[in-house]
């Protein structure tokens, strides 16, 4: 029903400059350097969305190749078109053009690690059956030639039916010009000639395609024959595969072809030993490998505590001085209190942990990029098997030391749903970077900085808390695997990537990404919470308290002189500030919940801070910072000093050692993180698991803190 007067132009005649003309799928094995290459080609012209119904990020970028602009889709790494995990399934669906909301690819950029042509060409051969134009990028060609590997590109190109093959080094950009040219010509290129490697399969597929009423491409029929279970095809399957599993037969046929190609195209010289090979040879022995793993983890935690201290002390002193300057230079009143007690004390007490968080993230990124995490999974498989999981669950858990959110997302490589959920519920127990501030503050304030031998007592307590998190997480997984998530023992099959020197650019980019998230949170969520908490702690102002103070001050000034007067005045002001706080909204709310937390030895201030920390645990520090600043006249004191001086009305200290340890255990266990709950909800696609995780972890935290306090206080 076209309205008259509107002339219609066919869609394909509209040309908008800089609009991608075709979309190209970037496909390759995991660790083939695919994403680095994708970043090289698209630069910053990238956007990230989610695939419908899945939390897997869809990375789409625009490659500007002179006259041609192409849309590149960076797909999750896969070894085969027989999907094994959720991410692989998405890669396969996009490649086959059956992912809703994603353009069917007009061509394929196959990414193959030149040092691992064997598995790379297996996937390339499967991709060739898409009957789409294809360019093959051979990445890490520098590493290949360094190891003495020579590849005859012309011969390889001929064997791949004329698909253009470009050796590149994605990290340095070497060979990129040739690749760009090949890509620019890709949409117009002919599809490569298909190699004949399994004539029976091709014939069967063609016969079926002729019979079928709906138009199906050959590759779709072939995949259905191999991966599907449609009963109607049972007869043909029996003819094709005999008694053998189709996957096994496919693998045999394809790898026979791959070996033939490699015989013609690859001349391998003996491997000269590189530092990576030496490291592997050493780490390959079970005992040095295990000791190495423990040393690596110990170094990470030691660095987090020791290296960051000087910078943290500077930030701490800076925050305290700034608060003092504001308080002393500006007239006393609400605005001054908001600035010094609310914003500076609240946000400052969180910002101080930036150095620690940066160090932690740096280490996790380095471990990941160097290929060490996969090795940790391999080393720990035996241990994880005893709790009903496989070594693959280790990678999400180690990532969770930085943050549980990427950790939970890293569970996607685990094929079985039950094992995945068990890992997801174990991951939030790992000590994340947001728990670190609370630990660091309480340990620095209440654990003596003494050494037992060469062991630092504070570091030891911190290590203990990390161990507590690991043990609680692993036991949780075990508990789930013998009850709600009972199932067969998960298998363990993992490709172990070579050790690689991490690329500085990539590492810094990732680190900056994490730091930006942290700073944005400090600037928005934590800032807001600090201001709200300040308002709740400051208002309403009680006239009674103010007039009582004025009365007593006049009395003191009339009767006392000198030092005694100064001391009394200070005591009076302190008392008045505490009284104001106690009758503020926050004080009243805190008193309401105090009975719940009283058995843990917490006063109303800590109770209020803990409750405020449920959306994001690092907020607790901001709340403590604000609450203790509002209720305290000593402006230049750090938060740790203020905590040490906190007393019950009867004058006894609030922060006793059993209470502090209980608080630490509460933090180690409690799931105070809305982002984690949200990601569990998204990844499991149900509310059941996040709700369960929240109640389960909160209960453990409360009971743990209760036991430690009650037993410790005798």
């Amino acid at each position: 029903m076209a309205s008259p007067g509107v002339s219609r132009v066919p869609v394909d005649q509209i040309t908008v400059s800089r609009r991608p003309s075709a979309s190209i799928a970037v496909v390759g094995n995991p660790n083939s350097g695919k994403s680095t290459l994708f970043n090289r080609l698209t630069g910053l012209r990238q956007r990230t969305a989610n695939y419908p119904g899945a939390t897997v990020e869809k990375h789409v970028g625009t490659a500007n190749l002179g006259k041609v602009v192409l849309e590149l889709i960076d797909l999750p790494g896969t070894f085969s078109l027989s999907a094994h995990s959720m991410e692989e399934r998405i890669a396969v669906d996009v490649v086959l053009g059956r992912m809703p909301g994603t353009n069917p690819p007009a061509g394929i950029l196959a990414v193959v690690d030149m040092t691992n042509l064997y598995q790379g060409l297996f996937l390339v051969q499967q991709l060739m059956e898409l009957e789409l134009p294809m360019v093959v990028a051979l990445t890490m060609s520098d590493a290949a030639s360094a190891s003495g590997l020579r590849v005859d590109i012309d011969s390889l190109q001929a064997r791949l039916g004329g698909a253009v093959v470009c050796p590149v080094v994605a990290t340095t950009g070497q060979g990129m010009n040739a690749l760009r040219e090949a890509l620019a010509a890709l949409p117009e290129s002919p599809m490569p000639d298909l190699p004949v490697f399994w004539p029976e399969l091709n014939e069967a597929a063609e016969k079926l395609a002729g019979e079928s009423k709906v138009a199906m491409r050959r590759i779709e029929i072939e995949r259905e024959l191999i991966d599907g279970s449609d009963e109607k095809l049972a007869e043909i399957r029996r003819e094709l595969f005999g008694d053998e599993p189709p996957l096994a037969k496919e693998a045999r046929y394809r790898y026979r072809w791959v070996r033939e190609v490699l015989r013609g195209a690859q001349q391998k010289a003996p491997l000269p030993s590189t530092w990576g090979a030496h490291v592997i040879a050493w780490l390959n022995r079970p005992v040095p490998g295990t000791i190495g793993l423990l040393l690596v983890m110990a170094t990470v935690f030691q660095a987090v505590f020791a290296w960051a201290t000087p910078v943290m002390d500077m930030i701490d002193a800076g925050t305290a001085t700034l608060g003092f300057l504001i308080a002393s230079q500006l007239p006393e009143g609400a605005i001054t209190s908001l600035l010094s007690d609310g914003i500076v004390a609240g946000v400052g007490s969180v910002i101080i942990f930036l150095p620690q968080i940066m160090i932690l993230f740096l280490f996790i990124i380095l471990l990941e990029d160097s290929g060490y995490l996969a090795r940790a999974a391999y080393l720990m498989d035996r241990v994880m098997r005893s709790v009903g999981l496989s070594g693959q669950s280790i990678i999400p858990m180690i990532s969770s030391f930085a943050c549980a959110v990427p950790g939970i997302m890293a569970t996607r490589v685990i094929p079985n749903r039950r094992d995945r959920i068990a890992t997801m519920l174990a991951a939030p127990f790992m000590t994340c970077s947001a728990r670190l501030p609370v630990y660091a503050l309480l340990i620095a304030a209440f654990v003596p900085a003494e050494s037992i031998g060469w062991l630092n007592l504070q570091g030891l307590v911190l290590l203990g808390l990390y161990v507590l998190g690991i043990v609680a997480g692993v036991l949780t997984a075990l508990l789930l695997k013998v009850t709600a998530l009972r199932g067969p023992k998960p298998p363990f099959v993992l490709m172990l990537p070579e050790f690689r020197k991490p690329n500085l650019r990539t590492v810094l980019l990732q680190l900056w990404g994490r730091v930006r998230v942290f700073l944005r949170r400090a600037g928005t969520v934590i800032f807001t919470v600090a201001v709200i908490v300040w308002a709740l702690a400051y208002y309403p102002r009680s006239d009674t308290v103010a007039s009582e103070l004025a009365g007593e001050r006049a009395l003191a000034e009339a009767t006392l002189t000198g030092d005694a007067l100064g001391e009394t005045l200070q005591r009076l002001e302190h008392q008045a500030a505490a009284d104001q706080l106690a009758q503020s909204w926050l004080g009243r709310a805190g008193h309401v919940v105090e009975p719940v937390f009283k058995p843990l030895g917490w006063d109303w201030k800590i109770s209020a801070a803990v409750i405020a920390g449920f959306p994001a645990r690092e907020v607790v520090i901001a709340v403590l910072g604000t609450v203790y600043a509002v209720g305290d006249e000593a402006d230049e004191a750090t938060l740790a000093q203020r905590l040490k001086l906190a007393t019950w009305p009867d004058g006894t200290a609030v922060f006793t050692l059993p209470m502090v340890f209980g608080l630490l255990i509460f933090y180690a266990c409690c799931l105070q993180c809305a982002a984690t709950l949200a990601v569990i909800q998204r990844e499991t696609n149900s509310w059941r698991w996040p709700v369960f995780a929240w109640f389960y972890m909160s209960t453990i935290g409360y009971v743990g803190a209760l036991l430690v306090y009650q037993l410790g206080s005798g």
Partner: protein, 98 residues
């Protein structure tokens, strides 16, 4: 061998498992060529998709804590699998340096 061939395939595989070398019997640093595979286990099929097929040359390079899983080198990459699955791959060892 003729006897074995006319037998049911599973009996043949059982025979091989008893008397032939599998991936688990290689020594550290020793190379072998995969000769036969018991393909019933889905994990074994997955390993085949990753390249552990008849004719592939593998080298046993290490074992993890507790002697399991095992790591093998396969055409320049490294793959790890458990003993229970490695047992399904019959190999003929290559002489040293072969």
């Amino acid at each position: 061998m003729r006897m074995v061939i006319i037998c049911d395939q599973r009996i043949a595989l059982g025979f091989r498992r008893l008397y032939a070398m599998t991936l688990t019997s290689l020594q550290r640093g020793q190379k072998g060529v995969i000769r036969a595979i018991d393909t019933t286990d889905p994990t074994v099929q997955r390993l085949m998709v990753l390249g552990l097929v008849e004719g592939a040359e593998v080298e046993y390079s290490s074992a993890a804590i507790g002697g399991d899983p095992l790591e093998f080198r396969l055409f320049g990459s490294a793959i790890s699998l458990r003993k229970e699955h490695a047992r399904h791959f019959t190999v003929s060892p290559l002489p040293d340096g072969g």
